[in-house]
Structure formats: structure tokens, C-alpha cells
Symmetry: C2
Subunit: 198 residues, 2 copies
């Protein structure tokens, strides 16, 4: 069978976003990464810059501190920004899946759509060297401590994912296929995924 | 590039062993599962039944209790059975890899061979329903608590792997490709892996 919705979760710097884009092109699917941020910003009323971070990262890599920051406000009377964004994200991702033929990057889409048979959940990882090279040379990020930046990003994504899904980010059991982009390269990963999705 | 050594790690009941066997047949590679147990038994002098369990499972799913059981004996004067088996496993797996063109199931082979470029490390997971059905119908195991048996097996493999590799069993980052056999089926998983390995 083919899959009409592909979700891509990824370690920062693994090239997961580019793999998702290439898969969308190969299959003629819509690609939702920045386009998703746009939609969430419009519907929630928050600025795009806020959505980019607060829709995927915990404010702290420490899960206790993050949970504490979330419980400081009454959920019913005054939901936190993170809760509000998650609710809008969830709604939009569910609507996009209804239309089908799309690739969605990040934002717990794998978990949100986990009960649909037509979804292929992908996770992309890569070794530290590959990720360091990418953030330095492609994104001009990381300063003089690229490894620290990457570990910090991983921690915050992990904490965010754990909080909203009660599952472990990056654990193979939570995805249908996981690929190491530093082993295969970006193009080959896109080929493998699109061949399976066809 | 092709890969001359394929290691298959797997959740119990996921069909990982059968996938490995099918891959070996497709590629014309040697298949080491029971054949590996034979070799380890001959070289270590322990019975095959002991090797089967003590070469992949912690004696307890509790990592503290397992570590305690390992530290009760002086490693130098009287290495525990688990240590002795691990050492023989490590030696044999390294020798098999030197010969190449083989599929090796379990036994931390992914970690033991992690510095070789020609190795493809695979992890197979599956959902609980699929695994329950397989152990009941294919292996006639699990009694009236198949789910408990599977969770217990997972815990013991996880503890064993953590002890000898200091890494997390089943975490996508530790493998090159992870597949959900309950999503794709055994045959399709074998096709995906052998296509990549060619």
C-alpha cells in the first residue's frame, strides 16, 4: 500500500527537513514546514518566531522545570502559550491529514496522526560530526560550541515530545522507519522513503 | 556503496530473526543466529541453552540488580558467566566480520562492529498486537500473559545492552535503519534492507 501522509521527525542538523522536501517533490505532495508555521501563526495570532520555537521545544531541557513552567498557570482559565500553540498545531495537522498527499515536518505530527493507517512516520538521525558540519556550514550556527548547541536542542525537543505525547522522542518503536542520514546521505534517504511511500 | 555485514537487533516477537534470514538468502550471505550460538558454545565450553539466554539477556530486568550480580565476583580472578560469554561473543563476531558477507542476529553485534564502515546496523520493532500474535501462534509461547512476557524480555535485553555498550537499546540514533515489521510485514522489511545493502 502507499502512504498519503508522511511525517518527518528529526535530530537538529540531520538534514531531515531537506529529506522531507525532497520526498514531497518526488511524490508531488505538499510540503509543510514553514508553511505550517504560517498557518499556525495566522490561526493562533502568535508571531511566527514564537511558533517556530514554542511549537517544538520545551523552554527548558529539564523536564521537571518545563512541567513546572506549564503548571504555573491554570489550564482552564489561562492556558500557557505552549498549550495554546499545541492545540492549534494539533487542529491544523489533523485537517491537513484529512486532505492527504502531504509531508509534515516535526511538531509531534507522528503522534497526532498515529491512529491513521495511511501515515508513514519517519525519524531521521545522524552522527555528531555530520550534524556539526551541517549547522556550521549550511546554517552558520553553533558559534564555538556547536556540540553543546546540538545537545541542548535535542534535550528540549525530547522534553517537549515527552510532555505532549508521554512517549520517547527518537525511540525506534515510535516510528515506522528511522534512517541515519550521515550513513546514507540526504538523497538516498529521500529515495528510500519515497520508494516505500509509493 | 554496498554493505558486507548486516547486524539485526530486534524486539522479541517482531520477526527480526526471519527478516535477517530472508536478507541473507536474498544476498547470498551467511546467516548467524543459531550457528553463532553453536560457535560460542564450542569456544566457551558452556551449554547452548546457557549461551542463548546469557548472551543477550540480563539475569534481571532491573539494571541495578543486574550490575550488582556482575560486581559480586572479582572480574580478574573469576569472571562471571555473562562476562566470559560476552568476551567469546565479541571475539567470534569480530572474526566473522573479517570474513564478511554475513547477517548476524542480536548479541550486541551492532556495537561490537560499530567502527567498521562496511556494516549496516538494523533494528526491527513491531507493535504489541503483532508481537503477541507471533509468539502465541508461531512460537507457542507467552502462556496466558504474553504481554507481560514480552515486556520482561524487552527489559532484560535493554539492561544487557546498556551494561555492555553504555547505550540505549532500540534508540534510533544507535542504528542505521530501523523498521516497524508490523507496519510493513516481514517480506517487505527484508526487501528494503537487502536493496539498501546491495
Amino acid at each position: 500500500m502507499g502512504y498519503s501522509i508522511i511525517t518527518i521527525s528529526r535530530e537538529y542538523g540531520s538534514g531531515g527537513r531537506n529529506i522531507g522536501k525532497a520526498v514531497a517533490e518526488k511524490l508531488g505532495y505538499e510540503f509543510y514546514d514553514n508553511a505550517l508555521v504560517d498557518k499556525i501563526a495566522k490561526e493562533s495570532g502568535f508571531a511566527e518566531e514564537i511558533i517556530k520555537d514554542a511549537g517544538e521545544y520545551a523552554t527548558s531541557g529539564n523536564s521537571f522545570l518545563f512541567s513546572l513552567s506549564m503548571s504555573n498557570l491554570s489550564e482552564i482559565n489561562m492556558p500557557s502559550i505552549s498549550y495554546q500553540i499545541y492545540a492549534v498545531q494539533r487542529k491544523i495537522i489533523t485537517e491537513l491529514a484529512e486532505k492527504g498527499n502531504c509531508v509534515i515536518v516535526g511538531r509531534c505530527a507522528d503522534y497526532i496522526l498515529k491512529d491513521r493507517e495511511d501515515v508513514l512516520n519517519v525519524f531521521i538521525s545522524a552522527d555528531m560530526e555530520f550534524r556539526k558540519n551541517r549547522i556550521i556550514n549550511v546554517y552558520n550556527e553553533g558559534g564555538n560550541k556547536p556540540e553543546k548547541m546540538l545537545r541542548d536542542k535535542d534535550k528540549k525537543r525530547k522534553t517537549y515530545y515527552r510532555y505532549y505525547t508521554d512517549s520517547e522522542w527518537g525511540m525506534s518503536h515510535n516510528y515506522h522507519i528511522c534512517l541515519d542520514s550521515s550513513k546514507f546521505g540526504i538523497e538516498k534517504c529521500a529515495d528510500i522513503i519515497s520508494d516505500i511511500a509509493k
